[in-house]
């Protein structure tokens, strides 16, 4: 019942919040308390999880739409474990991050956050296709509102773009899922939407021919996930959504929502369509490489800090895609690690940008300059996160990028040669931004705000310190984290062409 609790508790929290008075401070405190309670559930999961097996654990299975073999079936293994923890970890911080910046319709805001949490965790834990799809789509709705109501000037454009883009992708996925349900009936004699059953199917594959079931479904799923990831060239919703979203929205979008896409590749696409994945791996590696370089180049010329960070996300997620389609242990481990890293570094970056925006109400890089003397601690925090983002060793980012590059080198050296360009460009755009914002003479636009340029408050310290601790912890002791996923990943890689997953009794 633990996993169900983790999934459904936020939903309950959202309902609980509805009884509070919209204006009271108590609402915020309650929201924070509830999210911390969810974090405790996460801790419980941490204790209950058995890292020594690749099997699916803590599974629950209830019949749901029985006529098509669809069930409420959830479970956790090393692939999803950290993503769930990341999600429960980041929500209390997101709520703290919204403490002063969200002043309107707070009740709706926090309720949306909690619904979002349910959807995200549900996505990571679902083992049933339709349940997965349900959570996947459900996550759109609160995010649509979060961007649309509490966002910036062009929020409507951004939020509708976000919704439609994702929906367009996921419809194809839905059709492919239905097709698989029917195929299971054809091949195995009964309807089933359970992923564990699907793994056992041998889906017909003919290399080089586009119109075979496996290839078609591979692409149907891939497009949905690639849009979410987002991979070049379907990434353009992301900068818009990021720029317009409120701080916590950007954080959650970057830290968790993008991971849903790459997680989809790990959990669904590659194990389900192994031959197609191997056949088309080059394509996705190329897309990953293009994403890395292209995202970095875009970030290089942005004038808006948030947009810069958004494009850096495109670049970072390019690494993840590349690592995944290296289809070897190092690449995939690196990709999984990079997902967490990106959640932490980009999440923190968005918080940092949000903090400074609250003080100056501008995000134009050109308006800044010489911030460091006014806000030294803020500068240090920003630098640390920047280092994590550009993958300096001893920070978490390095481990991920190193493993990914190594894995992709193993699978195809050429793409790795291209991908390291991203290492250079990443440093270039981030440090360029740091220089423009923090160094040099004080920006002209800032002179009016000097009174507001106070250093980090206690609340902001609380927000940032977990990130900073994690940056170094994950950078120095990656095995502490990798050990929890090791068996699952090994199993995943070793049995790639005939992947199955059993349930731990």
């Amino acid at each position: 019942m633990l996993l169900s609790q983790i999934i459904l508790f936020p939903l309950l929290a959202a309902i609980i919040l509805l009884i509070f008075n919209s204006k009271s401070d108590l609402l915020k405190q309650a929201a924070l308390g509830l999210s911390l309670a969810e974090l405790l559930l996460g801790a419980k999961l941490f204790m209950a999880f058995d890292p020594s097996t690749a099997s699916l654990q803590l599974t629950e299975n209830y019949s749901w739409i029985s006529q098509f073999g669809i069930s409420y079936s959830i479970g956790v293994d090393g692939l999803s474990f950290w993503l769930v923890l990341l999600t429960v970890f980041i929500f209390p911080i997101a709520i703290l991050g919204s403490w002063n910046s969200i002043n309107k319709s707070q009740k709706g805001y926090y309720a949306s956050l909690f619904v979002l949490q349910t959807a995200m965790i549900g996505t990571f834990l679902s083992i049933d296709a339709i349940l997965f799809y349900l959570f996947w789509e459900l996550s759109l709705v609160p995010m649509y509102f979060i961007i649309g109501i509490w966002g910036g000037a062009r929020r409507i454009y951004a939020t509708v773009k976000f919704f439609i883009y994702t929906m367009a992708g996921s419809i194809l996925m839905l059709l492919a899922m239905i097709y698989l349900i029917l195929m299971h009936k054809e091949l195995m004699g009964s309807y089933s939407a359970n992923l564990l059953d699907w793994y056992k199917m041998q889906i017909p594959f003919v290399g080089g021919v586009l119109l075979t079931p496996q290839t078609l479904m591979f692409f149907a799923f891939s497009i949905a996930f690639a849009i979410k990831t987002p991979a070049f060239p379907v990434h353009t919703w992301l900068p818009d959504a990021h720029v317009e979203a409120p701080t916590a929205g950007s954080v959650l979008l970057a830290a968790v929502m993008l991971k849903m896409g790459t997680y989809g590749f790990v959990r669904w696409v590659i194990p389900l369509f192994p031959q197609a994945a191997q056949y088309w791996a080059w394509l996705f590696m190329v897309i990953g490489v293009i994403g890395i370089i292209y995202g970095a180049l875009m970030a290089l010329v942005q004038t808006d800090i948030k947009k810069l960070v958004a494009y850096s996300s495109v670049s970072h997620m390019g690494y993840v895609l590349m690592g995944l389609f290296a289809l070897n242990q190092m690449g995939v481990t690196g990709a999984l690690y990079q997902m967490l890293n990106h959640g932490i570094s980009t999440g923190a970056l968005f918080f940092l940008v949000g903090m400074i925006y609250e003080r100056t109400h501008t995000r134009q890089i050109a308006h800044y300059g010489g911030l460091a003397p006014f806000m030294p601690w803020y500068t240090i925090a920003f630098l640390i996160i920047t280092l994590s983002s550009i993958a300096v060793p001893m920070t978490n980012g390095f481990i991920g990028e190193f493993l990914i590059l190594m894995g992709s080198y193993k699978s195809n050296p050429v793409w790795a040669y291209f991908a390291v360009i991203g290492v250079v460009l990443g440093a270039a755009y981030m440090l360029w931004m740091v220089k423009k914002v923090f160094y040099g003479p004080t920006g002209k636009e800032l002179s009016g705000h000097k009174d507001h340029l106070v250093d980090l408050s206690a609340r902001e310290w609380i927000i940032l310190s977990p990130f900073i601790v994690l940056v170094f912890w994950m950078g120095l002791r990656p095995n502490d984290f990798l050990n929890y996923s090791r068996h699952s990943l090994e199993h995943w890689v070793k049995n790639q062409s005939s992947y199955t997953l059993d349930v731990k009794k």
Binding site: P233, L297, G370, L405, V423, A428, R477, N479
Partner: protein
């Protein structure tokens, strides 16, 4: 076990100092407090290092190595990287240099920086650098080394941009980091190549797997891997084509230039090659490339150094040039010579930087040599120590630089990988070095006083700054006696042994079957003496010329400048390398990015989205246009629908 503790103490004490100063000291402690703390931790580190090296000397038999494995850093699949640190003969030298020179520079900094607002920050960064440098030096695998490699780059970035309110300085820091990153990217790929060739990245294991004979193929993993590692080294050690960041890095405080950009960090590339000598030795093609690049850098940097006016810029180009020597040494297979020169260079170049720092301090942050001159009477101790450094760098016996440079020159001439051209270039470089260094001395300490006496009151520095100067001056003199060549030791009364060679025995691989040296001993002794004399003579001649040019007849340089015209312009503007990079690499990149953004993102991808939207809206408008409102039109649609369906059905 105790060794592990001492390694831990050595590594971590600078880190502790960094954290203490960084977290508690900020804005609270003055320069003396934080300086004392930082120096204490640096000294602790030095003491542990000294203890360890002492322990190493006692391990006479068996593998001379002290190691400590703290934990497994990364373990994935076949990749296993333990956090293992070693002190062996090679790293011992570096450890001592790094912590020793480091401590001295910490000490120096107290006097130099104590008035600065960010002094606490400064000392914490300095400690941070020390930590990373030690990781780099003692790390027992390429990835661990890479940790320190990037870490020192980071420290360098922070310290170059230390006075970040000046945007130019902040930019210099950024430039340093990014240029280094280019090298690092190559380093990473090099690591991959080696890993997938050898299956491990730990030095010892690679050592045991390296093939015996040289690999004579450009495309072999060994050649490619080492080449890429070397590209990494060109970034860190400021060689062609990635040297451009180092002169700019002089934007940082002068002690930083001394420690990071002269004595230690920039030599990391050389150190890496020496450390992996077993690997590079097996890749002669790579060695050739290294030698060529090194030789070219020697001359290129030296010529640029001729025309600089900023005292620190001259020293910076000198550093680039000296690093070229070290690479030249590596390239000809004389790894020991490279390490030797690395060490002596650390002494005398740190000395000169600190000396220039003392000058700058005394001149109230004036760096232009045109506004100096005749300072020897104001700064006597600085002057005398600087003199020692000067003599060392121009290679006057018995100063340290003479021995190390001479060994490099001799090896580049005589070793099987060497060539007389390398030697000739080396001598040319030495001559040029001698010229511009004498020029520096002349412009700074000798001759007329060109500074504005109303504003500048040059004064000698405090003892905290002078003590390191003196210590380094002593080292610059005696440092070279560790490696006295056989030919000289034979004629000396006590026949002092070549301590360094003895120390490194067994740790370094010599790619050359040393037949050349062993064979005709007497002939070569004569040759060696001759070449030695030639190079010293040329250096002396060039020093005298410089003296004449800048003291005796100061109008000559001006005349020459007029005569040489464009050639001078070229040199004065550093061959326009920065401008070329800017114009042909950076600007196109930014322009391309902007174009990509405008065209691909905005005009193609988003446009395509809009096209799809427009198509939907267009369909909607068509659908809307059908709704004329007229009943009979609607009835007509029905009739037409009937007609069409019937037509299709009956296939008419």
């Amino acid at each position: 076990m105790t060794n592990e503790y001492f390694i831990a103490i050595m590594l971590l004490s600078p880190l502790v100092g960094f954290l203490i100063n960084g977290i508690f000291g900020r804005g609270r402690w003055g320069g003396y407090t934080s300086g004392a703390i930082a120096t204490f931790f640096a000294l602790t580190s030095f003491a542990s290092a000294a203890y360890l090296v002492f322990g190493l000397t006692e391990l006479a038999d068996g593998p001379r190595i002290i190691s400590a494995t703290f934990f497994d850093w990364i373990t994935v699949d076949e990749l296993k990287i333990p956090a293992r640190f070693v002190v062996d003969p090679i790293s011992a030298i570096m450890v001592l240099v790094v912590t020793g020179v480091g401590t001295l520079i910490h000490l120096f900094s107290i006097g130099y920086m104590h008035e600065d607002r960010g002094v606490t920050k400064y000392f914490s960064y300095l400690n941070f650098f020390l930590f990373n440098m030690l990781v780099l030096v003692t790390g027992d695998s390429l990835p661990i080394m890479f940790v320190g490699w990037e870490g020192v780059g980071l420290a360098s970035y922070l310290l170059i941009g230390f006075w970040f309110n000046d945007e130019e300085k902040a930019t210099a820091g950024m430039k340093a980091f990014i240029t280094n990153r280019i090298g690092d990217a190559a380093f990473i790929i090099g690591m991959f190549i080696l890993f997938f060739h050898f299956g491990t990245l730990e030095f010892e294991k690679i050592n045991s797997l390296v093939p015996v004979g040289p690999t004579l193929s450009w495309l072999s993993p060994l050649t490619l891997g080492t080449l890429l590692l070397f590209i990494g080294a060109t970034g860190k050690s400021a060689q062609i084509p990635l040297y451009v960041w180092l002169p700019d890095a002089m934007a940082g405080p002068t002690p930083v230039s001394a420690l990071i950009h002269a004595a230690t960090m920039v030599t990391a590339g050389v150190y890496m090659i020496v450390r992996l000598s077993f690997l590079f030795a097996a890749a002669p093609y790579t060695l050739m490339v290294i030698a060529i690049i090194g030789a070219l850098t020697v001359v290129l940097a030296a010529t640029i150094g001729l025309a600089q006016w900023d005292i620190k810029k001259v020293l910076a180009y000198s550093t680039v040039s000296q690093l070229g020597y070290m690479f030249l040494a590596c390239g000809v297979g004389a790894f020991g010579a490279a390490l030797f020169h690395l060490m002596t260079h650390a002494f005398f170049k740190a000395l000169m930087f600190l000396g220039s720092g003392s000058v700058i301090h005394g001149m109230h942050h004036e760096q232009d040599m045109r506004r100096m001159g005749g300072l020897k009477k104001y700064l006597p101790i600085t002057y005398f120590t600087f003199l020692a450094g000067w003599l060392a760098i121009i290679g006057m016996p018995p100063f340290a630089g003479f021995f190390s440079k001479d060994e490099i020159l001799w090896q580049s001439f005589s070793s099987s990988n060497g060539h007389w051209i390398f030697w000739a270039i080396g001598v040319l470089g030495a001559t040029l070095t001698s010229f511009y260094m004498t020029r520096l001395m002349a412009l700074t300490f000798w001759g007329q006083e060109r500074f504005d006496k109303k504003h500048h009151h040059p004064h000698e520095s405090p003892y905290s700054m002078l003590i390191p100067l003196i210590a380094l001056a002593v080292l610059s003199i005696v440092g070279g006696w560790l490696g006295i060549p056989h030919v000289i030791s034979e004629v000396l009364p006590a026949h002092p042994a070549n301590v360094l060679e003895h120390w490194l025995e067994g740790s370094l691989v010599h790619p050359i079957a040393a037949t050349a040296v062993d064979g005709g001993h007497a002939d070569h002794a004569a040759l060696e003496w001759g070449l030695m004399g030639l190079s010293v003579g040329l250096a002396l001649l060039s020093a005298v010329t410089a003296y004449v040019f800048y003291i005796v007849k100061p109008e000559i340089p001006k005349l020459l400048v007029q005569k040489l015209g464009q050639a001078y312009e070229l040199v004065f503007n550093k061959y326009y390398v920065d401008e070329i990079y800017q114009r042909y690499i950076l600007n196109p990149l930014v322009k391309a990015s902007e174009d990509l953004w405008l065209y691909v993102d905005v005009r193609i991808i988003d446009k395509l989205t809009y096209v799809l939207t427009d198509m939907s809206i267009g369909t909607g408008k068509m659908s809307k246009a059908m709704q004329t409102g007229n009943i009979q039109t609607y009835a007509l649609y029905i009739v037409m629908g009937v007609a069409i369906i019937l037509t299709i059905f009956f296939g008419v």
